[in-house]
Symmetry: C2
Subunit: 278 residues, 2 copies
């Protein structure tokens, strides 16, 4: 057995640590992926994995061995580390003893043409896009990407100043969603123009006064659900340019939902009407 | 103006810090509540506030002044602190400069008789209870309490080893839900017996194979939705004793939802059928 990497100053340890920041991710073109399940999701989605680090002392269980086998079959470099080096890779690193540096990149709005089904096709669900407006909370962002993936969205679009898609907390909360869905950053104006060009109806989520989502069906040409942040909601520029505003009926008018829960309920309702529901 | 509390060793600073742990909360019978909005929610819900700490340097804005006015009207003791003392109160304390030590207590299953509407009453939604089985994640727990509050649940029950209702992260994620809803801890056996005695149908959420929640209506006698943790789901003892298992139809069979999002969708569906929807 080769000697384990022990130094917290090792090149790969430092590189992985740098990937905690947007700057570091841009520099190396890599993203932090931690834990057995998440690495397994990356493999299943065919993500390009630059290298994997394992801490043999921590890595245990059948699933972990399966994941390692698959990594070795794909000729991905595997670095073995002591606990000292492994825990130095990240502030938030889990106890599972596996982490991967993955090549993931954002896409552009123009790239989405290929992932959108033609309008009025049977698989109408694929003409559904989730757009997040100035969403800063990484947990909510990741959870929404996960939900978008579960309900057959074609892509997730971040509008304006959002938390980065590849922030480690977003990746973790997405439960692999970031590996499966095209992720796009855009300005509001670009996004609105793109939706119009593609005959996609823009639905803006509002806490009151919109069309009840109980009455919602996916528009024929497709739909883009725009969610704001919990703190600020959506600004007038979005509300006036949206085709429809949508509200979730609630028991108490004064109550509110977590933004990710609200997105889940509306996507569920839209998805329910489509042919993709099993 | 009286002198500001500056010492990180001040009695109240130490007491508040102790409330971060379950042991400390049990010792003092108090719960940490931080931030302008959350203190406002506590006031609105008529929570018994033992004392409030403010950091005048940080506390700004119209809403903060409103909250302070109301606190003073209620004769709640207000302690003014320097930034040094205020930030020593908590590891996670927000930048808003207000925190309250609140008297909140758990309720017992027997206490719920008074909050449940009679069976077959018009306000059938109030015979809806959310039960969380061995849920460890404070963010998910808090978000689910918030959702239960928004969809008119009568109470939230924690079954087995759950994260404490009054963990500061739960309180924060609940967005005030913990102030409004009766919160009960119970064993599974006690809970199952209580539901049977009260003619409440037990609905267990499962990732596949259950009744699609699209077909779900609140049972006549009321319903208790039982959610498991994301990691482990619900054990056989719950699944076999439940009256109905419930599943959310999804686009991709292999995908999963965040536990709080899943709870939100099912509660939304159950609530939709009730008379309480506006």
């Amino acid at each position: 057995m080769r000697q384990l990497i022990d130094s917290p100053h090792n090149k790969h340890v430092r590189q992985f640590r740098a990937l905690a920041t947007k700057k570091g991710r841009a520099k190396y073109g890599l993203v932090q992926v931690e834990g057995v399940r998440l690495v397994q999701e990356a493999l299943a989605a065919g993500v390009d994995i630059a290298w994997v680090a394992i801490c043999p002392y921590r890595l245990k269980g059948f699933r972990a061995r399966q994941v390692l086998d698959e990594i070795q079959q794909r000729n991905v470099p595997v670095l073995s580390m002591t606990q000292r080096a492994f825990t130095a890779m990240s502030d938030t690193i889990g106890p599972q003893g596996i982490a991967a540096a993955c090549r993931l990149t954002q896409r552009r709005l123009d790239d989405l043409a290929s992932v959108l089904a033609p309008p009025k096709a049977a698989a109408a669900g694929r003409r559904l896009v989730l757009a997040l407006y100035e969403l800063r909370d990484p947990g909510n962002m990741g959870t929404m990407i996960r939900t978008a993936n579960a309900f057959g969205c074609a892509a997730v679009v971040a509008i304006g100043e959002c938390v980065d898609f590849f922030n480690p907390k977003v990746v973790r909360a997405s439960a692999g969603g970031v590996f499966h869905l095209p992720l796009v950053s855009s300005t509001w104006d670009e996004f609105r123009a793109w939706a119009a060009q593609n005959e996609i109806t823009v639905l803006a989520a509002v806490t009151s006064g919109g069309v009840p989502c109980t009455q919602l069906a996916l528009p024929a040409g497709g739909g883009a659900l725009v969610m704001g942040s919990e703190a600020h909601g959506l600004p007038d520029v979005v509300l006036t340019a949206a085709d429809i505003t949508v509200t979730i009926p609630m028991a108490g008018a004064a109550e509110s939902l977590n933004a990710a829960v609200a997105a889940g309920i509306i996507l569920y309702e839209i998805n329910k009407g489509s042919d993709r529901v099993k």
